[in-house]
């Protein structure tokens, strides 16, 4: 076990180097020289040279690559081109609004999906199961943009139940601002979550131990909750853990539409301003967090299921 974890930890190194290389390739090699764009068309050669020096772009490419690698470990991403602020500072500022939206939405959608999938697993093959499955697929086929625009227009603008846009710090002041985006997040997650959980639960239902449980006269509900759910929890937990990085990434579109000053909205603003360092920082940060959580998810899997061979 310990051996496996150590080996898995060591594997982080080549993956992190690979991710840094990919990001370096995109932003430092393919993207080209940004100084002309940054300084406008009246820039003198000397100004451009100074700016290149300041941004660390006159270093040899290898040293620039090392800078990217370093930022993946130190989370020191430099300054934004648009706001001139430290990117680390901007991330800290954005974390609170982002997490007040994503964490409750994530918890509610996961619990709700679990209940719905248990319900449809109980009635598998019956009309209600087919109907909810169809609803899931249909719900997943509507563009996220359509949900956001439609709901914002109807519930916030027409009916005035929620704030159209903005944010206030502190509980319960933020509730009217995050309620509608959170509801949209939940609706967007229900489809894929229920589909996945249902498949996992039904995978277990056809196992021998379930037949044994049924043979000894246990009720369907007891089987589902006591036996099936416990075994199905393993893939469900790993699936859930691997989604946590996306909470930190924030809800790009939702924050943008609802004027929530979080990390997701910040990323889209950076995109509109061609603010390369912020996008680069977000790419690095989200990858590092993703790599860490996929490791956690793998380790949890092996802890939760002793049958999994540790190779």
């Amino acid at each position: 076990m310990t051996n496996y974890i150590i080996r898995r930890l060591l594997y982080l190194i080549p993956v992190l180097l690979g991710v840094s290389f990919l990001i370096f390739l995109l932003f430092n090699v393919v993207a080209g020289d940004p100084t002309a764009v940054l300084l406008g068309k009246n820039a003198t050669a000397r100004q451009m040279e100074e700016l290149r020096e300041q941004l660390g772009l006159n270093k040899p490419l290898f040293m620039q690559y090392l800078d990217v690698v370093k930022s993946a470990f130190t989370f020191d991403f430099g300054r934004s081109w648009a706001t001139k602020q430290e990117i680390t500072y901007m991330l800290k500022q954005g974390a609170y609004p982002s997490l007040t939206l994503t964490i409750p939405a994530f918890v509610i959608s996961t619990v709700l999906s679990l209940f719905i999938s248990l319900f449809v697993a109980y009635y598998r093959g019956k009309g209600i199961d087919l109907f909810i499955r169809f609803l899931c697929i249909a719900g997943m086929s509507v563009s996220a943009l359509a949900y956001i625009l439609g709901f914002q227009w109807l519930f916030a603008y027409k009916l005035g139940w929620f704030e159209i846009s903005g944010f206030e710090y502190g509980f319960p002041e933020f509730l009217p601002y995050i309620a509608l985006p959170a509801i949209i997040w939940i609706i967007l997650s229900l489809g894929p979550d229920v589909r996945f959980f249902r498949t996992v639960i039904l995978d277990e239902i056809y196992q021998d131990y379930v037949r044994t449980a049924r043979a000894k006269g246990l009720g369907e509900m007891t089987i589902l909750l006591k036996h099936v759910l416990r075994n199905a929890m393993i893939p469900i937990i790993t699936y859930t853990v691997i989604q946590i990085p996306f909470l930190i990434l924030g809800a790009l579109l939702l924050e943008n539409f609802f004027g929530i000053p979080g990390i997701g909205g910040m990323t889209l603003n950076a995109l509109n301003n061609s603010d390369f360092p912020v996008i680069k920082a977000m790419a690095i940060l989200s990858s590092v967090v993703y790599i860490i959580f996929s490791l956690v998810s793998d380790i949890l899997y092996t802890i939760a299921d002793p049958r999994v061979k540790l190779k």
Binding site: G18, L22, I137, S141, A144, A146, L271, I291
Partner: protein, 283 residues
């Protein structure tokens, strides 16, 4: 009596499912619309003014007109061409890369496999949306960047699936038999193993296609996608400002067009899995 081939069997199973058949027909219709539009037979003059500005849907213009008096229906058709071209281009990039890397890694193992595993782990470690945004931003706006970005993100799943399946197959008796009669690596891999994993490519492509369409809409909405031509994403972007004035038909048209094709690919993907891989049926 002549036995049906595996593929014919699968096709018969597929057509018995009326939902799958309907989905297949929808995909064919959308493809035809896209091809006809690309060749300039339909919606070629989408940019022309056909009526007053912002007309609500009526008998003449079933989806209404936009702010410049252009037919929203024609824009939807033109957007279909963009969406389908993105799905196709993504598949054309993702399938060769995913199949070749996955097959080579799974078959040869050793350091080759280690390298390929590292490569797809690296690509899958950057959350898709960040990789899509980064690539399109750096390559510059436009369809080419969207093709490259979606190609770069979508080969990973296919590669992983093919690698796993080829690993299982290379130990099977039929492959051993092929070695016994002197078949080389190339022959074993391409002639014997790959035909047995083709179903994975088909199932995966059907699901990837709709992911590509959905991503194109979001990238175009963000202003990173197609320029100077209507796309479902840019139509939704227009609608963002028009909704408050009660102009809902651009949003409705684009959303409906996208909903139907994405739903069809979703249902088709599931049905293909059931018919090509009957072991999984009922799960």
């Amino acid at each position: 009596m002549k036995e049906n081939s595996l593929w014919k069997d699968a096709f018969i199973r597929l057509t018995k499912d009326k939902w799958a058949l309907a989905s297949l027909i929808i995909v064919v219709v959308y493809s035809l619309v896209a091809i006809l539009s690309a060749c300039g037979f339909i919606a070629a003059d989408w940019a022309q003014e056909v009526g007053a500005s912002n007309l609500a849907p009526n008998a003449e213009h079933i989806f209404g007109t936009d702010i410049f008096g252009r037919s929203v229906f024609q824009k939807v058709v033109r957007g279909t061409q963009v969406a389908m071209s993105v799905g196709l281009a993504t598949s054309l990039i993702a399938i060769p890369i995913g199949v070749v890397l996955g097959a080579v890694g799974g078959y040869f193992g050793g350091w080759v496999d280690d390298f390929i595993t590292w490569l797809y782990t690296t690509f899958s470690s950057i959350p898709n949306i960040m990789l899509l945004i980064s690539i399109t931003m750096i390559l510059g706006k436009g369809l080419f960047a969207v093709y490259v970005a979606l190609g770069a993100t979508s080969w990973v799943t296919l590669c992983r699936l093919i690698r796993g399946e080829v690993m299982k197959h290379k130990e099977r008796e039929y492959v051993q038999a092929a070695s016994a009669i002197g078949g080389g690596h190339t022959r074993k891999l391409f002639k014997h193993i790959l035909p047995n994993v083709t179903h994975i490519v088909i199932i995966n492509t059907s699901l990837q296609f709709q992911v590509a369409i959905k991503s194109e809409v979001i990238l175009s909405y963000l202003g990173l996608g197609v320029q100077g031509e209507p796309s479902w994403g840019t139509m939704i972007d227009d609608a963002k400002l028009e909704l408050a004035r009660g102009v809902w038909w651009q949003l409705a048209g684009a959303t409906l067009a996208m909903f139907i094709i994405v739903l069809a690919f979703n249902i088709l993907g599931d049905a293909l899995r059931d018919s090509l891989d009957p072991k999984l049926k009922g799960k």
